[in-house]
């Protein structure tokens, strides 16, 4: 692979299942050494994309390159360099944890220098590993999944909902492992529907919805572009009423009080209009959480093309990529 080549390159990647479209013209590039987040609700096309990257699915159209290779045509050259944790990890129930890791290591066909270290750090004891997987809790299975994905020290790690089922202590270890992996120059693609997980681990994030790319931006830009949470208390206490242009900012009414999420660039003009039109007795403005910013971004996407001007500053839209 050329040193400057991206670790993952999707160009107009489309995957259809009969008439249904799983992923629609997705264009994303992940650079080598990046921890990249792939964020979206269930059914957004994240798992389909990840399965295509690992060669399980064939793209219907578009180009998919992983470490400079075609995931299907070059599968045998690519797979030894790849670590993959499926979203719904299924293991052979009658095999012990140790047998499972041995089997998957043998199939990987490369040495597994990190197995013992990872088992120790993820608190998988020898007694745990000697038990059949059918006796494992969800968290224990997830630990086995993480070990098998990382034990051969792969160049690219693809993780689908990796922290599902992990207790907080193990989650800490997991995030430390991700940090070390990135520091060692490895690339990580992490898919999740949990924003804080992505926020904590990733440098950049792609947000997808209904198989389409909503935006790609750095987590820092997403944080900076957080919407403002505005709370207005109205004198008359009459409750919901038309807000004109401010209806676009997701008003939530509670008797004589209304809360809105307003992008920072629209804040001043929106407040001027609201204060002029409403009998406001009290007003608070604060930064919305990242979660709310994400939801706001989603609502903007759902509202249709006419609202795309609400995309946050620093954001690359699909058309810009």
């Amino acid at each position: 692979m050329h040193p400057a080549a991206p670790a993952i390159e999707l160009r107009a990647f489309t995957k259809t299942y009969g008439r249904a479209t799983g992923v629609d013209r997705l264009t994303v590039t992940v650079e080598t050494g990046e921890v990249f987040g792939f964020l979206g609700p269930n059914g957004a096309g994240k798992t389909t994309t990840l399965r295509t990257l690992t060669g399980l699915l064939r793209p219907t159209s578009g180009q998919v390159r992983v470490l400079g290779l075609d995931p299907v045509a070059d599968h045998r050259r690519l797979a030894p360099r790849l670590g993959y944790l499926p979203g719904e990890l299924r293991l052979y129930p009658e095999l012990t944890g140790s047998q499972t890791l041995g089997l998957l290591g043998d199939l990987q066909g490369v040495p597994t220098p990190r197995r013992a270290e990872l088992c120790e750090r993820l608190a998988l004891s020898a007694a745990d590993l000697a038990r059949p997987v059918r006796e494992y809790s969800r968290g224990m299975k997830q630990k086995i999944g993480l070990v098998q994905a990382l034990q051969h020290d792969p160049e690219l790690v693809v993780l689908d909902e990796p922290s599902e089922g992990l207790d907080p202590l193990v989650q800490e270890t997991f995030f430390a492992l991700l940090k070390e992996t990135a520091a060692a120059g490895r690339t990580v693609l992490l898919s999740s529907h949990v924003l804080p997980e992505v926020q904590r681990a990733c440098g950049r994030v792609a947000i997808v919805r209904s198989g389409r790319l909503v935006t790609v931006q750095t987590v820092a830009a997403l944080r900076e572009a957080r919407a403002r949470r505005v709370r207005l208390v109205l004198e008359d206490g009459h409750g919901p009423r038309p807000l004109g242009a401010a209806e676009a900012w997701s008003p939530a009414w509670n008797r004589g009080e209304v809360r809105l999420l307003i992008p920072p660039e629209d804040l001043v003009s929106a407040l001027r209009e609201l204060l002029a039109a409403l009998p406001v007795t009290d007003l608070t403005v604060e930064e919305a959480g990242l979660e709310e910013a994400f939801l706001d971004l989603y609502r903007a996407g759902e509202a249709g093309p006419g609202t795309t001007n609400r995309t946050m500053p620093g954001t690359k839209t699909e058309a810009q990529l």
Partner: protein, 273 residues
């Protein structure tokens, strides 16, 4: 798990108890057939090499030629075409063929296998080899039991030679390979283990019924060529002590056709659960 052919060993390891029970069942059943055959004095047999019984009965003696059910080769051959014998074989083939691809897809374990540097062809080859190994094991269990029983009985040994038993055992392997090919192809294309089990059982049961109907009803006689059991004639092999090469070749060709079809079917499909 052995590191050399992990998928092969995994398939056998996961079904080792089932295979042990099936092999034990095969030994018990063939022992019973030998004991029953020994219990019939030669004078009570309707006629060793005479076609005295109705034609359809030959379907139960594993013969398309001159071997009657009322003969020692016919009685022992009946033990190798008995519905229980067929059921034991179909259980092993169906279960292992389902495990080749479809069961991994259904359970979701395929994701961990196929994302490793193993080709789909290797997956199919190792899993197919596991079915062959299981089939050889079951046929060997039946053949050895029969051989020991015949060797221990001078009456049976006079009517059936050990080379005939070996020929019948080899023909049994050919039949199971014939059933394995299509089952493997269904597994390569399917998503559910029930599809593979159903297809395997249907192929075996319909094949047996077709052969029986063709032998019982003259108008349906040409249909017998469509049944694998027309070519599987252990009664004839036991009586004449030779492997019917043409029949064996047909059985192997059908099996190979299924195997050959399975590879492109698997190669051109998505493998996500």
């Amino acid at each position: 798990m052995r590191s050399r052919f992990p998928l092969f060993w995994l398939a056998l390891h996961r079904r080792r108890r089932m295979l042990a029970y099936l092999a034990a069942g095969m030994v018990l059943f063939e022992t019973l057939m030998v004991v029953v055959s020994r219990a019939v004095p030669p004078a009570q047999l309707l006629g060793g090499e005479v076609n005295a019984a109705p034609g359809a009965f030959q379907a139960f003696s594993g013969s398309t030629g001159d071997v009657s059910l009322a003969s020692y080769p016919g009685l022992l051959g009946a033990g190798l075409v008995h519905p229980l014998w067929i059921a034991l074989q179909l259980t092993a083939i169906g279960s292992l063929a389902a495990a080749a691809v479809a069961a991994d897809l259904e359970s979701g374990t395929i994701e961990l296998l196929i994302t490793r540097p193993i080709s789909r062809a290797r997956l199919l080859a190792e899993r197919g080899a596991a079915i062959v190994a299981a089939s050889v094991l079951l046929n060997a269990a039946a053949t050895v039991t029969l051989a020991v029983g015949i060797a221990a009985s001078p009456t049976l040994h006079r009517a059936v030679s050990l080379s005939g038993v070996v020929a019948a055992g080899l023909l049994g392997c050919c039949l199971t390979l014939c059933l394995t090919g299509p089952a493997l192809a269904v597994s390569a294309a399917g998503r559910r283990r029930a599809q593979v089990l159903g297809a395997t059982i249907a192929f075996g049961a319909v094949g047996f019924a077709l052969n029986f109907i063709a032998m019982a009803w003259s108008k349906a006689r040409p249909l017998r060529y469509l049944s694998p059991f027309h070519y599987y004639t252990p009664g004839d092999a036991l009586a004449h002590a030779h492997l019917p090469w043409a029949s064996a070749a047909v059985l192997l060709a059908v099996g190979m056709a299924g195997v050959v079809a399975a590879f492109p079917l698997l190669n051109h499909r998505d493998l996500a659960p």
